[in-house]
Symmetry: C2
Subunit: 223 residues, 2 copies
């Protein structure tokens, strides 16, 4: 076996394969529209015929992989249209979920948001100085955790699930911007602080605007 467990939830081969593939798609090791042949993937990641197909089926549902009947799987395309679409849906979902979290969130929730924000700041600082793969991975995870914490208390399992999937679809673009040095860490820091403040003050208008701005800058169509 090539890999080992990456997190608590990786208790089956399929979920381990899924983690590995997710990471490689996010980091661009597997390129958009690239054909994903079962045999090649097995050689690279291990797992059986069956497990690999199940994994691709899973990633396909997550929007990271495209499947065409009788023609197998390929990495989800990453056209300007795709970026636009992901941004559109993600903005609406997160705005909605945040508004709900404003209603339901208590002090404990605020604490978790603050903690996630703090961890994110550390990760941004680390990745700003040396953008190696490891710190990039940790930075990506910190972004995910902060986003997740924000909407955690929307108390809607489906919204939470959706947000996660859309976030994962966004990761490719966020990491690409990091690689190409297109991230303005200074303004990100200001914006994230402002967002945190808005959340703690339950300033819905400001929070929605900042959230939208955050997503839009991460997902601005480059081409």
């Amino acid at each position: 076996m090539i890999f080992r467990r990456q997190s608590e939830e990786d208790d089956t081969i399929v979920s381990m394969l899924a983690s590995a593939l997710r990471r490689d798609i996010s980091f661009g090791a597997l390129l958009p529209d690239q054909k994903l042949k079962i045999a090649e993937l097995r050689a690279r990641y291990g797992g059986s015929n069956h497990s690999m197909r199940e994994t691709l089926r899973l990633l396909s549902a997550e929007g990271l992989v495209e499947s065409t009947s009788q023609r197998g799987f390929r990495v989800m395309s990453a056209s300007a249209e795709d970026v636009r679409d992901i941004a559109l849906v993600r903005i609406e979902i997160e705005k909605l979920a945040l508004a709900l979290a404003f209603k339901n969130g208590d002090v404990a929730w605020e604490g978790r948001v603050i903690a996630a924000h703090h961890a994110l700041q550390k990760a941004e600082e680390a990745v700003r100085q040396s953008a190696d793969d490891l710190s990039a991975l940790e930075w990506d995870e910190a972004c995910r955790a902060f986003s997740a914490a924000l909407i955690e208390r929307c108390d809607s399992p489906r919204l939470i699930d959706l947000q996660l999937k859309l976030f994962n679809q966004s990761s490719r673009f966020r990491l690409a911007q990091l690689r190409e040095g297109q991230l303005d860490f200074a303004s990100r820091k200001v914006r994230q602080q402002a967002l945190l403040d808005a959340v703690l003050e339950r300033d819905e208008v400001a929070a929605r605007a900042l959230l939208q701005e955050e997503i839009q800058t991460e997902l601005r169509a480059e081409t």
Copy 2:
């Protein structure tokens, strides 16, 4: 093989199995929280170990089936919380998509909406008189087609996909109301006509309200 092709897209065993299972979950032949044992399902629907697992993985992604690591699959629960959650997300998604369709929709789109509305009226009339399984199936399909037509021109593949999944999650409840004679066909007809009119006049406020009402009555928590 127990079944035959049910639609154009059913060109693989997995997609046929998925159709059959989707139908049986919607119609209540498979009950909420019921354990889905691979062996039993194979005996009932055919297909190999592999195909059945892949199918369940697929339905799991669609929100019709729950999967727990090392503990297999079960039919997605149908608690009042679930109904509430589905309604919440579906309302927001469809409202958003409809607003976008208002921007992008042209005459051809309006034509398809009118056609879908017409077909729906026929199906409602048919199912009102004799609610056998066949007409119920056709009615369900007409509802789906009408909803899909409304948002078709939002031009967002992800929104369209989401709407379909949420609609499929709703079908169980809609069909249950039909079975229990809780549907007010008269007011449905009025509302659907009003919705059509609002769409043709691009009356966004009215359309959003009617759409929300339609979904809420279909998904009102019973218990």
